[in-house]
């Protein structure tokens, strides 16, 4: 079915009824045990987040002096006001930059990955496996390792400290190509392509009108992962950018955190800023989750 699952019969159509009704065999006990376990893990996952929320409501002094897991003097709104006012209100541009880098970068990157993965899965040509191997090699290279050579490259064409110097490298996602190939192989039946060709549809049209839609669940996954990767990457912008109006939010917070001992108020502001910066991630996830669910179901094409 896909490289992710080990079922035979690669293109067996999926059933749409993933949300099978609850089996009668699900005893109350197992429901409680299972949900209980999930709750315990959720507490583990969310406890530090809760700490962050609590911290963001405190004054600088209370941050170290009061009990970390409960509220003391509630100052969230003061902190938020200070956050958005600090340094002539630079935080909001940071947030918007991040959305642009991550949102547009992931969108373009996903499309490029989908095209490449589709080509690698659906066309037979010389050097195909070699190209795929090179892409896989690229998966092994940590993005962090590329920042400096990239800086020198961009300096050659005098393009450092620009939006493009951060944006362009971000659109490359070998992992995305890898996943796309898997999913294209699994979710775009050759029969369908053949039928489209017989109908006289061009390759491009077939891809953009049909294949892309079939691959949409995979693309949502790729988009989500790449969005987060770009969002969290601050090394590349750090190396590339000098103008703090171009900073993404992670780099901005990092810079603040680095100046904490000179300006202690930055401690609470960088924590508040971190909390605020998680919100777009959560929203993105929630929004995508809907498409994702729908996409997964839709991926079960009739063939």
């Amino acid at each position: 079915m896909s490289l992710l699952t080990d079922t035979a019969g690669a293109h067996a159509p999926r059933q749409t009824s993933k949300t099978a009704p609850r089996g009668p065999r699900d005893s109350r006990l197992s429901v409680i045990a299972a949900t209980g376990f999930l709750v315990v893990i959720a507490v583990y996952m969310l406890l530090p987040v809760f700490w962050l929320i609590v911290a963001a409501t405190k004054s600088q002094g209370d941050l170290v002096d009061s009990f970390g897991l409960w509220f003391s003097d509630f100052q969230l709104f003061d902190n938020l006001r200070a956050l958005f006012a600090k340094q002539d209100g630079v935080y909001l541009p940071w947030l918007l930059n991040s959305l642009l880098y991550a949102g547009a970068g992931a969108a373009v990157g996903t499309l490029l990955s989908a095209m490449a993965g589709y080509a690698l899965a659906k066309y037979r040509f010389r050097g195909r496996e070699f190209l795929f191997s090179v892409v896989l090699g690229g998966v092994l290279v940590p993005a962090t390792a590329l920042a400096l050579p990239l800086f020198l490259l961009f300096a050659e064409v005098d393009a450092t400290n620009t939006f493009w110097s951060v944006f362009l490298p971000s659109i490359v996602s070998p992992f995305g190509v890898y996943l796309s190939r898997i999913f294209a192989a699994a979710s775009v039946p050759d029969e369908l392509l053949e039928a489209a060709r017989i109908d006289g549809a061009g390759e491009l049209r077939t891809f953009f009108t049909m294949s892309l839609r079939l691959m949409s669940p995979a693309m949502v996954t790729i988009f989500l992962f790449q969005f987060v990767v770009i969002w969290n990457n601050f090394l590349l912008p750090l190396v590339m950018l000098q103008d703090d109006r171009l900073y993404p939010v992670t780099l901005g917070l990092f810079t603040w955190q680095s100046q904490v001992s000179r300006d202690p108020s930055l401690q609470i502001l960088s924590l508040t800023g971190s909390l605020v910066s998680v919100v777009p991630i959560v929203i993105t996830f929630l929004v995508l989750q809907r498409y994702w669910k729908a996409g997964l179901a839709a991926g079960a094409v009739k063939s």
Partner: protein, 454 residues
């Protein structure tokens, strides 16, 4: 006061992230053969027409001083870029920019990093620029020896001193009085005071000893005259584990062994600030800029701290160490060294500029004229009205001049930090730490193809 010099705990962590460059940084090393300006007397001539200069600095409010310069000098316009502190990324960015050929004309560089930038051929020798050599008398002696690498200008002048971190003893006056402890004048008295404090309050520590601040420890060595480096002819002499340094190490090892100092509190960490607020830690041997670190992070203790001269190794002496401080350097390959040098001199000697830098950025000036600033003569509220800067002004004059930082100081600090961490964790001693740091520093110099005197 500008904290740019020390490496606060979290900050230092962050630093690392910055440079994650691994391959990356790696990749950009000395790309190809570079014929840098090192050792060459740059011709320093005035450029024709209007000149634009770029300057990187992390002093808060430095833009106000720059604006003043731009107003007075319409033909030499300076654009300042506010950057993260040196070790958190700016140095890395400067190195990268030097390699890429788009470095700024001027940069803020700390004393302990100057040699490393010179080694990278990242500095311009401004000795032949008008007014530079003559400026020597305007600065506290030891700072000039730092920017000339001890050669008194014969080997070039590589930067203009900006601010300093003369060291003194911050102590909790209230706790000392409560427990009947006299302010220690010598290190022996400091040790006795530590014992007395522990006896009076078993939970209290005399101070914290942090593995994240090896440059603090080197400030202590500086006071002792335990020079870690020297230039001998064409070779470097490495003496990190000199007998004098050994004495300092043994002294603090004793403090650690007797649990008189906190070994689990790292510099500039929230935990340390909490311990200050709680009265768990009673003193801090620190630099002039430290006055605002305590003031801003231990608000609960307002009025309870005082400042005294650094304890001495022999009674009657009056020696101080230095921790931090930085320079304004004309970077390598600047096209306008003359104009850049003029700006650097103005920024760090002009009374108006000094006043702005002190007011906005809290700089403790390297210029002797700066020590006379009105703001540095005033009583400070947080220290219960004590005129604390008098103490630092004295200290500043008593910092010994023949201290040399090595050209791979980042490595040396790192080796010291690792060794100190071991000693604090009960593996090995500080003396071991120095011995290992010495051997590894030699190794690190040799890897840079530098000659090491045996």
């Amino acid at each position: 006061m500008s904290l740019r010099t020390h490496r606060p705990a979290f900050r230092r962590a962050l630093v690392a992230l910055v440079a994650l460059p691994l391959l990356a940084t790696a990749a950009c090393g000395g790309s190809g053969t570079e014929d840098g300006a090192s050792g060459e007397q740059a011709t320093c001539e005035k450029s024709d027409g209007k000149v634009k200069l770029t300057y990187w600095s992390w002093i808060p409010g430095v833009d106000k001083a720059v604006a003043e310069w731009n107003r007075q000098n319409p033909d030499i316009q300076v654009t300042v870029k506010s950057t993260p502190t040196g070790n958190t990324g700016t140095y890395q960015n400067m190195s990268n920019a030097l390699k890429a050929g788009n470095a700024p004309d001027l940069g803020q560089i700390e004393y302990d990093s100057l040699a490393s930038f010179r080694l990278q051929e990242g500095l311009t020798d401004i000795a032949s620029c008008a007014g530079v050599k003559e400026a020597q008398g305007d600065f506290v002696d030891w700072t000039w020896s730092q920017v000339t690498f001890g050669a008194d200008g014969k080997d070039g002048v590589w930067a203009v001193p900006q601010d300093t971190g003369p060291m003194a003893l911050f102590y909790r006056k209230d706790l000392f009085e409560k427990h009947g402890i006299a302010v220690p004048k010598t290190w022996d008295e400091y040790y006795e005071a530590a014992k007395k404090l522990k006896k009076a309050d078993p939970k209290a520590y005399m101070t914290h000893f942090s593995q994240t601040d090896p440059n603090w420890f080197s400030g202590l060595l500086w006071q002792k005259g335990a020079n870690m480096f020297a230039q001998e002819g064409d070779a470097w002499k490495v003496d990190v584990d000199s007998p004098a340094a050994g004495e300092v190490a043994d002294y603090w090892q004793k403090m650690i062994d007797e649990k008189l100092v906190a070994t689990d509190l790292q510099g500039f960490s929230p935990a340390l600030h909490k311990a200050w607020n709680n009265g768990e830690v009673a003193t801090w041997v620190s630099a002039a800029w430290g006055y605002s670190t305590i003031r801003d992070n231990a608000k609960a203790t307002a009025g309870k701290w005082a400042v005294a001269p650094m304890p001495q190794w022999s009674a009657g002496e009056n020696k101080a160490g230095n921790w931090g401080g930085s320079t304004t350097a004309v970077m390598g390959k600047s096209k306008h060294p003359y104009e850049a040098a003029q700006f650097a001199l103005w920024l760090n000697t002009d009374p108006k500029a000094l006043e702005i830098l002190n007011r906005e950025g809290g700089l403790y000036p390297a210029a002797t004229a700066g020590l006379e600033l009105a703001a540095l003569k005033k009583p400070v509220d947080f220290y219960d009205g004590q005129t604390v800067f008098d103490v630092f002004a004295d200290a500043s004059k008593n910092v010994t001049t023949d201290w040399t930082f090595g050209p791979t100081m980042t490595d040396t600090y790192r080796f010291m930090g690792d060794g100190i961490a071991g000693a604090l964790g009960g593996q090995g001693t500080l003396e071991d730490a120095l011995r290992t740091a010495d051997a590894k520093t030699v190794d690190s110099l040799e890897k840079q193809s530098l000659e090491v005197a045996k």
